[in-house]
Amino acid sequence: MQAWQRYADGLGWATIAGVLAIVIVLVGAVVAVLARRRRAAVGVPDSSGPAVARDLPGLRQGLAKTRAGMFQRILPLLGRQRLDAEALGEIEAALLAADVGIETTQRLLACVQRRDRAGAAPRVALEEEIVAILDAAKRAGDAGRVTPADGTPLVLMVVGVNGVGKTTSIGKLAARFVRNGHRTLLVAADTFRAAAIEQLTVWAERSGADLVRQEHGGDPGAVAFDGMRAGMARKAGVVIVDTAGRLHTKSNLLEELRKVRRVIAREIPGAPHETLLVVDAVTGQNGLVQARAFLDQIDITGVILTKLDGTARGGIVLAIAGGLNLPIRYIGVGEGIDDLREFDAREFASALLAPTEEPGSP
């Protein structure tokens, strides 16, 4: 990999991409040939067969105990004045189990150790460091914030992978803005998923926001265009654009998103003023990959963290904030219309390290 890296840096990515393109095309040909031969030789290997259930009794029994024990053990350790290897191990485990990720966890551990030598209590040091990461991202986000020109609405665009809670978050956001006395317009640019438009329509009614929609299967760019025009004409204070969920690995779908963005920017200069990536708290390490891809492709400016009312801690946003300098703007904590809160770094930090509860009955 390092050889590749040097090679790549020397040649530039475009050249590498060219080589790869050729390799892929030829590998495709070779694979086709080999796969055929393999099939012919072995007969068609069919993967069906009886399911071999292989339970792991030891593992299953161990799980409940480990989970219950972990956080109970970490609490006294965090409060302890000095750190030993065991205590560090416990802190590491707690952070990893919260989806913070290895890199950020190592960074936090190093900091706790450093501050331990300076005499700070581990828990305080840990919380302060987490808050520092989140605050730095927030400052960076605030500094880059664009405010709408006079007479034009604040335009928010909401993006994310499938099923993270974009439409629901928009419904809650709309309710927030309406409650604060802003005329709010929702734009149903998810024309792909079945009944996504109907879902947003319900949220518009619930929150008291206006709605711009077209037919299912229409062009999202065209809906965005209508939305911006309507936002101007109706003198809306806030316009929120819903987009279809898409995996960050689908380049054609990201291109579609870029187009929506271009349309918005063309109709209202400076817009979208905020492009929010919705991240599900249950998301693991792929969350960082997602955020990086969306940042590269459409310049997201912040994150909404949803579904924090479950047992998931959403620790991946710490990696996102620290690694990409992206502020966390809101959190979703339930299915009710008022269950969207502004993100509070301190509250998040202490919840991240709070003891866990046993889900369900044993």
Binding site: I22, I24, A195, A196, H248, V289, D296, K307, G310
Partner: protein
């Protein structure tokens, strides 16, 4: 040629080898790397710990430490253990019970239950010859019933006319009755997403299960799920005794360690994986591929399957002949290029080849596709004769091609040089025979 983890293990053992014999103590350091790799892949911490412990115990009894390439040996061992843990073989639905067979889908919000319901119904109809009946029982999320109804319409599958003001238990019961009356042999019940700690809603699922006694209760889980997978699986399993799992959104680049976590908690097999937004994008779960994916080794088998679907026998044979006889021309290259474009974006494809994954992640996914377009333009600007015999491409021809394709001569030269080199390399692989690519990647059987 395992990447990532393989590289790291190699480093560990190389360093240790300098000190003479590799001892049991050194395994600890190697297993630390394994632990990190599994955590990066989102396998839940307790599962990782148990797994590496069992690896240590069993690996020590083996020849791992005396092996000349302990890292490869250990890696292969881990790979096999992962496969064993996830169930060795693809699980198949047993539908041999008196109809209607009920399948109930449960899971967190946004895990993909509604989409999976429709995909499952389509699969059962077209692959198993069943007559499925879809029953939407999500009365909470706005327009959830409409979503399944629309999907059913799209696929030509009957959907129960659920009313949003009915209770889910009544809907499930009425759905079963309606299916029986209309002669449907399989009923798929789509329930509302819920948190595993929501007592009231979990009890509702228990009530549905009691009312219709489904043959299968499927937990639908997102492949991107992190550490919480164990809690979620445990929560649903404790209440409902999960019979199987559908892992969704596996067409992304998540490593999918949740598969291991869920399996470890429930013991239930993973039956299907969701591979895209299209209704037919539901595939059987292959533990061996998942193991490779969790270890970050690309997914050669999936790539092969994709390619197999795209080519027919004749095309493959013709291609083989050309490659062997060195008659593969730019004309053929262009045909291949068209094929590859149909398979997916360069980023998707790169991710499936071992060793390329990391690179694919570093690169702007659009760059490779853009480069592919340029190459296509260059080839399209050649005459037929030039495409058949690139030896005749002299300076003035190259200049013309550059002009025609909107590139410059340097680009054309570079492409031709890379093309010649890569072709030579590929020819070697073809010569290796059926096991050639297998040896190349340590992935293919035989």
């Amino acid at each position: 040629m395992f990447d990532a983890l393989g590289d790291k293990l190699e480093q560990v053992f190389k360093r240790l080898r300098g000190h003479g014999r590799i001892t049991e103590g050194h395994m600890t350091e190697a297993l630390r790397e394994v632990r990190m790799a599994l955590l990066e892949a989102d396998v839940a911490l307790p599962v990782v710990q148990k797994f590496t412990e069992s690896i240590r115990e069993r690996a020590l009894g083996q020849e791992v430490l005396r092996s000349l390439t302990p890292e490869q040996h250990l890696l292969k061992f881990i790979h096999l253990e992962l496969i064993k843990t996830m169930g060795e073989q693809a699980a198949v639905l047993d539908l041999g019970v008196p109809p209607p067979v009920a399948i109930m889908l449960v899971g967190l919000q946004g895990s993909g239950k509604t989409t999976s319901s429709a995909k499952l119904a389509r699969h059962l109809k077209s692959e198993r010859g069943r007559r499925p009946y879809l029953v939407p029982a999500d009365v909470y999320r706005p327009a959830a019933i409409e979503q399944l109804t629309a999907l059913g319409r799209q696929l030509g599958l009957p959907v129960h006319p659920s009313a949003a003001d009915a209770t889910p238990v009544d809907l499930a019961r009425a759905g079963m009755t309606a299916a029986r009356t209309a002669g449907h042999d399989t009923v798929i019940i789509d329930t509302a997403g819920r948190l595993h700690i929501d007592e009231a809603l979990m009890d509702e699922l228990v009530a549905i299960k009691a009312a219709i006694t489904p043959k299968y209760v499927f937990l639908v889980a997102d492949a991107m799920t992190g550490q919480d997978a164990v809690n979620v699986a445990q929560g649903f399993h404790d209440k409902l005794a999960i019979d199987g799992v559908i892992l969704t959104k596996l067409d992304g680049d998540a490593r999918g360690g949740a598969a291991l976590s869920i399996r470890a908690v429930t013991g239930a097999p993973i039956f299907f994986v969701g591979m895209g937004e299209k209704p037919e994008a539901l595939e059987a779960f292959h533990p061996d591929r998942m193991a490779s994916r969790i270890l970050g080794q690309g997914d050669v088998l999936s790539l092969i399957e994709k390619v197999e679907k795209a080519y027919d026998q004749k095309q493959a044979e013709a291609l083989e002949k050309k490659l062997r006889k060195n008659e593969f021309t730019l004309e053929d290259f262009r045909d291949q290029l068209q094929m590859v474009k149909k398979l997916g974006s360069m980023g998707d494809l790169l991710g499936m080849i071992p060793g390329m994954k990391k690179l694919a992640g570093k690169m702007d996914p659009g760059v490779a596709d853009h480069e592919l377009k340029r190459i296509e333009a260059i080839i399209n600007s050649m005459t037929k004769e030039e495409r058949r015999n690139d030896a005749i491409l002299n300076g003035s021809r190259r200049k013309r091609i550059a002009l025609g394709s909107g590139t410059n001569v340097a680009d054309v030269n570079r492409f031709l040089k890379q093309y010649a080199q890569t072709k030579k390399m590929m020819k070697k692989f073809t010569k290796m025979g059926p096991g050639g690519l297998g040896r190349l990647t340590n992935m293919l059987p035989g």
